[in-house]
């Protein structure tokens, strides 16, 4: 190869790659007392700093501190811990089932449990959730049946999506959980339309949408920002910055600043929050939901966290990530942090934790057995074969009826 070009391009690079020793000491982490908490109807121009700082409640010793402390009851905190642990154990089990060939695919949210759990708890049941594949915690908070979730992953005869979707792409209308698309980010701008309709009808429900930091590069995120800002739609726009998009580091999509900063260009309240701090996540969500419900319009939230596992069951992160990155992650493990917080407040113990885990493990095992009894992907039973032609349209048109007859032949 002739090397005549002296490229002047600049290429974003990951902080660490395989072989490197991760060291996040360059990351400046504000203490909980540094973030001011504006009135929920305040002018966005007065809170630009929140886009560059980081709202935290739990300090390094897991004590709750600062203006954003949501002052949750012990019951709520314990419930949050339970939801998070449930999410983690569920994920673990499903992932192992994938490895055993029972599921075609799986995506864990290890290390990110506080986000879905904290946000779902701060929202109302009637609020509509536009989730990605990595907010399964939303479903646990809304008490979606374990067996139902598993049947969805198994694409079996009891799958409410009739065997049509990949595992983790749930849909649950009754629970106001919108059908997850395999196409990244498309739900983000749809959520704005949903919120506009809610406002149009004069209703109080709001929408909340999530997107990965990598996917935030898609057009739909821009349109969500713009449309929600233009019509002041009651919607929470959440970017989950878990540092990685498959093998690609977050700075490929950040433009060299925080993700939250992107909301400033649309005059939106834009807040970066410690996504591994259940209390902070809850507080920011509660604030934004109140704002939206009061007519203050959208809030743009960056949830700062770390994807502790592989992207999905299809990739091996050792090929592109340094070993022990998670262990070096300065914001810790959200489950551990909440647990310590409660223990420090003498409202929880290691024994209770163990008991909780054992209970949940058992429940999940039982649910799995039950779910399998409704069929597995490979061996069935599935939905009746002819259901394949349902729901393309509300009613089956003639050409699909003809095709169905052909299939049955």
């Amino acid at each position: 190869m002739t090397d005549q070009y002296q490229s002047k391009l600049v290429i974003p690079e990951a902080p660490f790659r395989p072989g490197d020793k991760p060291d996040y000491s360059f990351m400046s982490l504000p203490s909980p007392n540094e973030s001011i908490k504006p009135d929920c109807m305040a002018d966005p121009a007065e809170m630009k700093d929140l886009a560059y700082g980081m709202v935290r409640v739990l300090d390094d010793d897991q004590h709750a501190q600062g203006a954003w402390d949501p002052q949750l009851s012990i019951e709520k905190l314990q419930a949050a811990l339970e939801y998070m642990v449930k999410t983690r154990i569920y994920d673990d089990r499903m992932f192992r089932m994938q490895r055993q060939g029972k599921l075609s695919f799986y995506i864990k949210c290890l290390g990110e449990e506080a986000i879905a759990v904290g946000q779902a708890m701060a929202l109302q049941f009637g609020d509509m959730l536009f989730s990605t594949y990595r907010q399964q915690g939303l479903l646990f908070v809304r008490d979606r049946g374990l067996v139902d979730m598993m049947c969805s992953c198994l694409s079996n005869s009891k799958d409410n999506q009739k065997g049509r979707q990949l595992p983790t792409l749930y849909s649950w209308k009754e629970g106001n959980y919108f059908s997850v698309s395999g196409n990244l980010a498309t739900q983000f701008s749809q959520a704005v339309g949903w919120a506009m309709a809610s406002a149009y009808k004069g209703e109080d429900h709001i929408a909340s949408a999530w997107v990965g930091e990598g996917s935030s590069a898609e057009a739909d995120v821009y349109h969500a920002l713009l449309f929600s800002a233009a019509y002041r739609a009651p919607v929470l726009l959440n970017v989950v910055n878990n540092q990685w998009a498959i093998s690609t580091p977050q700075n490929m999509a950040s433009g060299g600043t925080t993700f939250a900063a992107r909301g400033l260009g649309f005059n939106l309240p834009s807040i970066r929050v410690d996504g591994n701090d259940l209390l902070a996540v809850y507080a920011v969500t509660e604030w934004a939901a109140k704002r939206a419900r009061s007519g203050g319009g959208p809030t743009f939230i960056e949830l700062f966290t770390y994807r502790a596992e592989a992207h999905s069951s299809s990739d091996d992160p050792n090929a592109y990530r340094a070993k022990d990155e998670w262990q070096s992650w300065p914001l810790g493990d959200p489950v551990e942090r909440l647990k310590i917080h409660l223990i420090e407040r003498q409202q929880w113990s290691e024994e209770q934790q163990e008991e909780l885990e054992a209970n949940l493990t058992k429940k999940i095992s039982q649910a799995w057995k039950e779910a399998e009894s409704f069929g597995t992907l490979e061996d069935g039973p599935h939905w009746p074969l002819e259901s394949m032609f349902d729901d393309v349209f509300k009613d089956i048109p003639p050409h699909l009826r003809r095709q169905r007859r052909k299939l049955e032949m």
Binding site: S181, T186, A195, M196, A197, F227, Y231
Partner: protein, 337 residues
């Protein structure tokens, strides 16, 4: 009964559905205060307010996404794409989302969105104000695709579309907005007044989705087309003296294949016409279907008359446009055998 242009008929359909159901709303670029660059939404914002006839940012993907979200939340949005040529930025939202939502969610969610877009050439609009992309959408399962050719059908089909629970791509042949066009740009333009299909009831009525219309019965050859080309074909048939049966498909998907087969049983010959480019256009699907259904009584190859496989060129608009001469020649070629 009133005389209406296609623009007025569309406006009337929107007005009536909005009057009957407050879940119906309109959104799109310049549709609100201005009433649309083709005036299809004129007067509606004044009547129904800014909250129901929404001007939007210039972002077709954002418009369709918003409409999907609204549809999921119980509304019946009618989204206007200013020109069919500008539907492509919204392609992912239409194809991956709007069309597939009901299926992928096992029937839990759906969005009854109607997407309106003026299409077709013949207005000196150059290559980005002249396209006919209907064929592409017929390949996307989950969408219904409609293109009326006249005011009466436009109103009835648009009301049906808005009331339909499936997503609809509703193409409006803009060359016929203000009058039927017979293919000769040098002829004096005529209005819809005087054309039987320009007589439009002011009241509510519907035309079923999925039914073709026989514009002109005939015995020698079946001519299949839709939109502007219906009128061009009609003029060509008249001029040629050929006793052709002209069918206006009106709905491309689902297709009224029965009406087609019935006609072919009589004529044994077929010409398919559209303005869109030829290769993999909707005409190909028609032919593939017909030759399978009618093989044993077809007496000549089915011939396509279409736009050429080039963009719509500004200066050569009338050489691009599949005009009367090409249609006559095609009909003749099927009769020669």
């Amino acid at each position: 009964m009133a005389t209406m242009s296609m623009v007025q008929a569309i406006n009337s359909a929107l007005d009536i559905t909005m009057e009957r159901d407050q879940n119906v709303l309109c959104l799109g670029e310049d549709v609100g205060y201005f009433g649309g660059v083709f005036r299809c939404t004129a007067g509606l914002q004044e009547k129904y307010g800014q909250h129901r006839v929404l001007d939007t940012p210039i972002a077709e993907a954002g418009i369709i996404a918003a409409a999907i979200g609204m549809g999921v939340n119980g509304l019946r949005p009618v989204a206007e794409i200013q020109f069919a040529d500008y539907i492509y930025p919204a392609f992912d939202q239409i194809v991956s989302e709007l069309a597939r939502l009901r299926y992928r969610s096992g029937g839990e969610f759906f969005a009854p969105v109607t997407v309106r877009a003026p299409c077709g050439g013949g207005i000196r609009g150059g290559q980005t104000h002249s396209q006919s992309p209907e064929g592409i959408f017929t390949h996307v399962c989950g969408l219904k695709v409609i293109m009326p050719s006249n005011p009466y059908d436009a109103k009835g089909l648009l009301i049906s579309s808005i009331e339909d629970d499936d997503p609809i791509i509703f193409f409006e042949p803009k060359r016929c907005y203000n009058g039927p066009f017979y293919g000769d740009p040098h002829q004096q333009a005529v209005s819809w007044a005087g054309h039987p299909k320009g007589e439009v009831p002011e009241v509510y009525y519907t035309i079923p989705i999925g039914e073709a219309a026989i514009v002109r019965p005939g015995s020698e050859v079946t001519v299949l087309t839709y939109g502007t080309m219906v009128h061009v074909a009609e003029a060509a048939i008249e001029k040629s003296g050929i006793d052709a049966e002209l069918i206006d498909l009106r709905t491309l998907l689902p297709l009224d294949i029965d009406a087609i087969v019935e006609s072919l049983q009589k004529t044994h010959r077929c010409v398919v016409i559209h303005e869109a480019t030829r290769t993999s256009g909707y005409g190909a699907e028609l032919i593939a279907d017909i030759q399978e259904e009618c093989f044993w009584f077809l007496e000549a190859p089915i011939v396509r008359v279409t736009g050429w496989d080039t963009p719509y060129p500004h200066a050569f608009e009338w050489h691009y446009f599949p005009g009367q001469e090409r249609i006559i020649e095609a009909m003749k070629s099927t009769l020669e055998t």
